[in-house]
Each structure stands twice: as C-alpha cells, then as structure tokens.
C-alpha cells in the first residue's frame, strides 16, 4: 500500500488542529498534563532522583564499613540506611524506571499517539511520587524502616521496628498499586494499540519484553500486596499471622515476599535486556539474529522466574525435596537467560559493530551480568548456599546481577535515547569517561565482597573487629564505591548542566531502524500520522516512511472533532479496529493520587478519621473521573482515518480496551486473593489442628453469602441482556435488586465468623477466616457500587442498548467476583467440615 497524499486536504489546518488538541498545558498547569511524553519524563526523572538518593545511602554504608570498629553512623541509623538503600533501589528505582521508559517510548515505538489510558498512567506517576517521598523522607525524621528491605518478621513485627515498618508496608503498597496501573496500561497498549500492520512477528523486541514483564507484574506484585495486608493487620490490630504463639508462622511472610521478590528480579532485568535488544542491532548495523529466540527467552524467563522463590529460603529448614525443586528451576532459568546473551553476541558477530557510548555501557553491563549469573548458578545449589547464605558473597552476587543487568543497560538507554528528549545529544567524551570510571569502580567495590563473604562476613553488620581478615577488603570496596560514585556524578552533570544552550542535533543520530526515531521531540502528538508497518526495522526498510509520516500522509492525520484519538488494532495482525478517544489534561489524576496517598499516610499514623474521609474523597474522585472521562457516547458512529478506511468510535465487550483493562486488573486482584487462600492452607499444613480448637464460621452463613452473591451475579448478566434488547426498565430493576442482593451477601459473609464469635486476635485461624471473608465482602460491596453506577449511567442516558461498555465490564467483574465468592465460602465454610 502506498501513501498517496489526498489533494483536497488542508494539511496546515490539520496540523494546527492536531497541535492544539495535543498541546501541553502551560504555566503551572503543565503538571496536570497526562500525555505520555511528559508523564514518562517526570516518571523517569523521579526514579533517577530516587536512585541518586539511594546511591548516597550506599556510599554512607561503604563509609561506615571502610574501617573496623567505625562509629561514623550509629547502629540504628545504619540499620535505617541499608534498609532504605535496598528498598529505594528496588521499589523506587528499578521497577519504576522501566514503567517510565515504557510510558515514554512505547507510543512512538508502536506508532501510537498515546497509550490507551493516559490518565491512569499519570495517576500511577503521582502515586509513585507521593509514596516515594513518604518512604524516603522518613529517614530525615529518624523513623525509616530498619529491618532490611525484605522486612522479615518477627523482627519487623516487633516493637523495635517502630513506625518504620508501617511506612514501608503502607508506602510501598501504594507504589505497588501504581505498578499494577502501569501493567494494565502496558499490556493493553502493546496488544491493542500497535500501528496497522505491526503483526506480532514485526513487533519491536522492546514491546515483546514489556508485554511479558507487565504480565509478570500481574502475578508477582499481588502476593506482596496480600502479604502487606496480613502484615499490617498484625501490626495495626494484632492479628497473629506471623506469631507462632498464636498459631501464626513467620515463614508465610517469606513465601509471600519471595513469590514477589524473585520474579521481581526478572521484572527488573528483562526490560533492561529489552533496551539492549534495541541498541545492539542499531550498532551492529543489522537486524537482530534470532528474533524468535529472544521471544523464547523472554517468555521462558518470565515463567521460570516464578519457580525460584524458595532459593531465598534454603536455610529455613524446609524439606530437602522442596529445596531441590527450586534449586533445579533456578538452574534451568540459566538457559533462557543465556540464550539472550548469545543472541546479542551472534548479532554483533554477524554485523559490523560501532563502539559508541551506549554500546560501551551495554557491553560492560553484559560482562558484569554474566559474572553475576555465574555466582547465581553457584548460590542456586543448596549446599553452597548454606555456606554463603546471608554473607557478603550474596551481596556481591546481587549487585553484579542488578548493576550489570539493570543499571548499566539503563545508562546505555539514557545515552541512546537522550536525543528523543528535546533533540539534544549527550557528550560522548563525558560518557566514555564515566563508563570507565563506573566499570572500574563497580568491580573494585563489589568483587572483593565475594571474598569478604567467603571469609564469613555477614551482610548488614554494622561494624566488625580488626583482626579477622575483613578490613583491607572492605577498605578496597569503599574506595571502589567512591570511584563508582564519581562516574555516576559525571553522568548527572552531563544530563543537568552540559545541555543548556546546546543547539538541537539530529533526532536519529544513530541511524536506528525502529519507529520511535520518527517522533519529533517538539511535538506532543506522538506521531503526526500513523503509518502502516511492513518491517521489523521500518526506517531501514520502508523508504520515505519518516517523511510521509511527518507530512501527515498516513492514517488519522487530523483531529477535526477536537478530541485526542489513537488507533486500536487487532492483537495478532494489527488490523485497524477502532478509533479510540483517550483522556486529556486533567486535575483528577492528581486529586485521586493525593486522596489515596492520604489514606495510606493517615493509616500509618493511625489517624482513622482522616483516612476514612480521604478514602471517601478518593472514591468520589474516581467516580467523577469515570463518569466524566470514560465511556462517552460519541457524536457520530464512525470516523474516516484516511486511505478509504472508516472505523467505529465506540466499542464494548471484548472489543473495547476497557474490557481488557478490567480483565487484567481482576487477574492481578485474583492473584492477591489466591495468595490469601494460599495463606489459609499454609496454616493448615503447619499445624496438626490448624483451627486451634476454635469454632469456625459454620456452614449456613457462608453458603447463604455464596447464594446471594451468585444471585447478584445472575442479576448483572440478566441486566446486560435486558439492556441489549432495549428493555431498560427491566435492566434498572435487575441492577437495583442486584446491588441490594450484594449488600445482603456482604452482611451474610460477615455474619458467619461474627455469630460464632471468632476473635481474630486470639488465633491465626480466626484471623485468616476473617481476612478471607472481609476480602470477599469488600469485593461484593464494590460490585454493588458498580451495579449502581451502571444504573445511574442508564438513568442519565449515558448507557444505552448499543453503548453498553460499562455493563459488559461490570459483568466481567462479577464473573471474577463469583469465583472469589465460590472459593472463599467453600474454603471457610466447607473445608473445616470436610476434615
């Protein structure tokens, strides 16, 4: 298909309209922007700032350990410093930086104007910022978390942990919500918003990786959210989940934390490798060798990484056969990991490599990562791990993996993609200087730690005596850390100072082949027109594409109706399906994040009333957001996008992006629920009589609740059908009665443990039953609110027989709710009876 300009179009007017519709707000209103370019940039800059902060904490750790018997920091401060160093690096830098890069890069890379839910992306950013400041700020008041970044009970549930543990739990839960929001945005964006013709075999590898990573977030973060919930219930209300005296078990936390924690390592690593998969072909001057093998590696690693969590728990006394399963999987994951490295080597061998600064960082990163991978294979073996567990050997290993597998690739990405931000280039000279300082500094810092570890130095010790052979190794590490720090400082200077007053350079200085290099940094519209893609490297293979796109010769070159629009295409072949109208500039994202943030902050300090009020305010903000910003009935049915293609402006059910978002969100929600159920059965396995002699909730009320929720589910489905047939009154009655039934279901759910007098503080059995029942009841209540929302939409004429997206989404929610109710009430009501 060729791009023939149509003679009758007035391109200048089109361009002006498009520019106006997508314009960044000016002045202080700039911060209300939701556009991916701004949000991505803020997100990235914030994550980078947190990284520098955590880097300084790292330098403090090294300063304290430089010499034996040092008292530079007090022991308590030291505990806070290393806990925050790990926490911030993992939660506020490593994961968010990729959400940032993805939000910034994906739309231009996929040839989309915007991701499907820009306001959700902005909400995620503001949540991240507020949560991050809250967590980081705590150290200036001396109340930062102090029990290590994985917060093991009983230390972290004890009094010594102070308010720091609550700050960790609540602050990070809030940030996890932001990660889930990003996952929804990325999955739907990658599956449904690619440029026409960008079939799955032509997708940029970055998108493949991010798709897998977003999927992993859905299954990895919810177990931690569930764990946080249990943990906070114990800290706040003394529910004894991790207290062995009352039937609890601290190991449950370790399970839930590492079911999150190990995949997280790959959630961090895969996007970094994704950057390399974009950089290496550009500088090898050829397409990647083994595209399918990279997909194999991404998917394979994504799955296998979920079978590794117990290798953090080799020393906890689990049966050896359990340990061995995880050891085997930990060895197996080396296969797909290595495949990626070999693909890069093959691509470089087959091409003619240009050793630019990004390539230096990429290669340096791979070299360091391989080293960390090798020690990883060592610690994956149970007998070796028993020797090295919790020593500096592990510290060395994890820094080799994370810095080689993540930090260096991020710097490679920074140097590579910097021209897309404002069209300016970073200094090559400074870059090379910084690289060698960082590479040398890194190895001088962390290589000796292998030896200190093998000599028996435990991680997290505050200081050590002089005569046991650790002193000179530690001193070398500290000197290396200073060199590493100077290298990073050089990059920071390059980013912040050096750029001012420099002329704008070429936007595609590397002559790269992928679509993101078409974008014009001065424009806010993503792409001027959306092209049809016929190659993995369209800029190399499709001549004149850049010119045609920027001249507005391709699809959707206008915004006549004054709305922000992008294309929705099919999953496999990216055939155009719909013109999607996305949300524009708004305060509601900031207000939602602020109110939700206040809930979490207030809970930390047990300000119940404040948290209740801000919770209600959050709900109001979200309802306002949904009511005014989503599910708009368009003024006409379809829109001509050029080249003789006309597409609908509205879709509902499986065809709508909202349906997918609900599906994805509920999958994550379902995983959190499954983690709680896992907790129930975990307690069952660790005790001969896990009820501790306490009467359960009985059978009657749980079954009653199940029946009521099932009724409400049926009412929702029936309402959807009635509405589709235009029987509005029937639909209204069904929705109203469905909501009432949901409320009754919630009451019945709570009645079970209430009538039998289960005291959640007395024994873990009562606590876990209450948790499950409350979880189900809250979801039921939410389902009721959704039914009422649909009713209100229908009454207001914003939901009609043909425009029924909300009803489809709510019905989908209720499918998940039905499964939740079935599992909950079968488990709490029937399982104890079956024993």
């Amino acid at each position: 298909m060729s791009a023939q300009p149509e003679p009758t179009r007035d391109k200048a007017t089109e361009e002006a309209q498009l520019r106006a519709v997508w314009a960044k707000p000016t002045g202080w209103r700039y911060w209300t922007s939701v556009n991916n370019a701004q949000v991505g940039l803020w997100y990235g800059a914030t994550a980078f700032a947190f990284m520098l902060f955590a880097g300084l904490l790292g330098l403090l750790i090294r300063a304290q350990l430089a010499v034996p018997q040092n008292d530079l920091l007090s022991a308590e401060t030291y505990n806070q410093v290393y806990t925050l160093h790990g926490t911030v690096m993992m939660f506020l830098f490593a994961v968010p930086i990729f959400e940032a890069v993805a939000i910034f890069l994906l739309p231009p890379m996929l040839g989309a104007r915007e991701l499907p839910f820009p306001r959700l992306g902005a909400f995620g950013f503001w949540s991240f910022l507020i949560g991050g400041i809250f967590v980081c700020g705590s150290i200036f008041f001396g109340v930062a978390p102090n029990s290590g970044w994985f917060m093991y009970p009983p230390l972290a549930t004890s009094e010594q942990a102070g308010i720091g543990a609550d700050i960790w739990l609540l602050g990070l839960s809030f940030i996890e919500v932001a990660s889930l929001a990003a996952a929804v945005e990325l999955i739907v964006g990658i599956m449904k918003c690619r440029a026409p013709g960008m079939r799955v075999n032509l997708m940029p590898l970055f998108a493949w990786y991010l798709l897998i990573v977003a999927g992993m977030i859905l299954f990895a973060f919810p177990p931690l959210i569930a764990g946080d919930l249990l943990f906070e219930l114990q800290r706040m209300f003394d529910w004894p989940f991790f207290d062995p005296a009352r039937g609890g078990d601290p190991l449950l936390w370790q399970h839930l934390f590492w079911i999150f924690g190990h995949p997280e390592v790959y959630i961090i690593f895969l996007p970094a490798i994704a950057l390399l998969a974009m950089i290496v072909p550009t500088f090898a001057r050829r397409p990647i060798v083994g595209y399918s093998w990279i997909v194999l590696a991404a998917v394979g690693t994504g799955f296998l990484s979920f079978g590794l969590w117990v290798h953090h728990m080799f020393a906890t006394g689990l049966p050896q056969i359990s340990l061995a399963f995880f050891s085997a999987a930990s060895e197996a994951v080396a296969i797909p990991t290595a495949v990626q490295i070999f693909v890069f080597i093959a691509t470089m061998l087959a091409g003619r490599v240009i050793f630019s600064t990004p390539m230096l960082f990429a290669m340096g990163g791979i070299a360091i990562f391989v080293m960390g991978g090798l020690t990883g294979v060592m610690v994956a073996l149970v007998p070796f791990d028993w020797q090295a567990h919790d020593t500096y050997f592990v510290v060395a290993h994890l820094h080799y993996v994370l810095i080689g597998g993540m930090l260096f690739p991020v710097f490679a990405g920074l140097y590579y993609y910097y021209p897309l931000i404002g069209g300016k280039h970073m200094s090559d000279r400074v870059g090379r200087f910084a690289f060698w300082l960082m590479f040398a500094g890194f190895n001088i810092t962390f290589f000796p730690m292998h030896l200190t570890g093998l000599r028996g130095m435990p991680r997290r010790v505050y200081t050590y005596p002089a005569d046991i052979g650790w002193d000179w190794l530690n001193l070398i590490s500290t000197m290396g850390a200073v060199v590493l720090g100077i290298g990073m400082f050089a990059v920071v200077m390059d980013v912040t100072l050096h750029r001012r007053g420099k002329p704008r350079g070429e936007v595609n200085p590397w002559n790269a082949g992928t679509l993101e290099w078409i974008s014009e940094p001065e424009e806010n519209w993503g792409v001027r027109s959306i092209p049809r893609i016929e190659s993995r490297y369209p800029l190399w293979d499709q001549e004149a594409l850049a010119r045609q796109v920027n001249a507005g010769d391709w699809y959707l070159p206008d915004a006549k109706e004054g709305r922000r629009e992008t294309l929705v295409t099919s999953v496999l072949d990216a055939e155009p399906e719909q013109v999607l109208r996305v949300g524009g500039t708004s305060y509601v994202t900031i207000i939602s994040a602020l109110t939700l943030g206040t809930v979490f902050v207030a809970l930390t300090f047990k300000w119940w009333i404040v948290s209740l009020i801000s919770g209600l305010a959050f709900m109001a903000a979200v309802l306002w957001w949904l009511w005014n910003g989503t599910g708009d009935i368009p003024e006409k049915d379809g829109k001509d996008i050029g080249h003789g293609i006309s597409l609908p402006l509205y879709a509902s059910g499986v065809k709508s992006v909202g349906w997918w978002a609900m599906f994805i969100t509920m999958t994550g929600d379902g995983t959190a629920f499954a983690s709680l159920v896992f907790g129930y059965f975990f307690f069952w396995t660790v005790h001969a009589d896990f009820t501790g002699g306490i009467a359960g909730p009985g059978m009657f009320w749980p079954m009653m609740a199940l029946a009521l929720f099932a009724l409400s589910w049926a009412a929702t489905l029936a309402a959807r059908e009635a509405n589709r047939r235009g029987k509005l009154a029937v639909a209204w009655i069904l929705l109203g009665s469905g909501a009432l039934t949901s409320i009754a279901g919630c009451a019945a759910a709570l009645a079970g443990p209430l009538t039998t007098g289960m005291d959640p503080t007395a024994h873990v059995y009562a606590a876990i039953v209450w948790t499950l029942v409350i979880w189900a009841a809250l979801h039921g209540a939410m389902g009721g609110i959704m039914q009422l929302y649909c009713l209100a939409r229908s009454l207001a004429g914003r939901l009609t027989a043909r425009h029924d997206m909300e009803l489809h989404n709510v019905a989908l929610y209720w499918h998940f709710m039905l499964v939740t109710a079935l599992v909950t009430f079968a488990v709490v009501g029937l399982f104890p009876e079956a024993l």
Binding site: M191, G197, R199, V200, N201, L202, P287, G290, Y291, S292, W293, V295, L296, V299, G300, G302, F303, L304, F306, G307, G317, L318, P319, Q320, I321, S322, A324, F325, F326, S327, A328, A329, E331, A332, I335, P336, I533, E534, S535, R536, V571, L572, D573, T685, V686
Partner: protein, 127 residues
Amino acid sequence: MRHPLPPEIESLWTLFTAPVVWALHFLACYVTAAIFCAKPGLLGNDFFALRTLIAGITLLSLAMIVVAALLAWRQWGFGTGDPPHDDPTRRDRLLFQGYATLLLSGLSFVAVIFTALPAVFLTECLR
C-alpha cells in the same frame, strides 16, 4: 481421512501452552511433596509412592508438551520455511508463532525434567 491433530487455533495464547504445563507440573510437584512431608499420613507414608506419583505427573506433563510441540511444528509448516519470518504477511506471522512456540516447548520439556530430577535422587523428607 480424518486428521489426527485438532484444528489449528489462531491466538496469541497458544504461545504459552508449554510453559503453562511446566508451571502446573512445578506446582503439582511442590505442593504434593510439601503436603506429604508436612502432613505425615495424609498422602500415605511411603516416600517411594510420592516419587512414583511425581514420575507419573512428569510423564503426563512431558506428553502434553510433546503434543504442544507437535501442534507448534505444524503451525511452523513442519519446518518448511526458515526464520527470520519477518515478512508482513499472515503466513510469516503464523510461521513465527509456530517457531517460537516450538522453541518454548523445547525449553519447557527440559525444565520439566530439571524439576523432576530431585525425585530421582532424594529418598526421604530430610530437613
């Protein structure tokens, strides 16, 4: 003649078949062994029976992966086309999907064997 293989499904999800089998196999092995060791008597007391059960689950999983691989091989045109499968056609997209699925089946096959190996060597619930 009736074809022995089921009709072809065109979906993104088929890519994940073999790794999902790996995940289920992994879970089944882990959960069975954990319950066996934590609740003596509930699943019997004979460790050899546990190992036999794991062997059975493993063979079943491997068989499922082989079927997935066969279907993938067919989707890949029985190997008639060589990668990179980067033409902008439905055919190349299908070949790519088949090839990637086949590769993943291979990885999953090996990973299932890895997971099952401990049951070959361990003979009791040592802690």
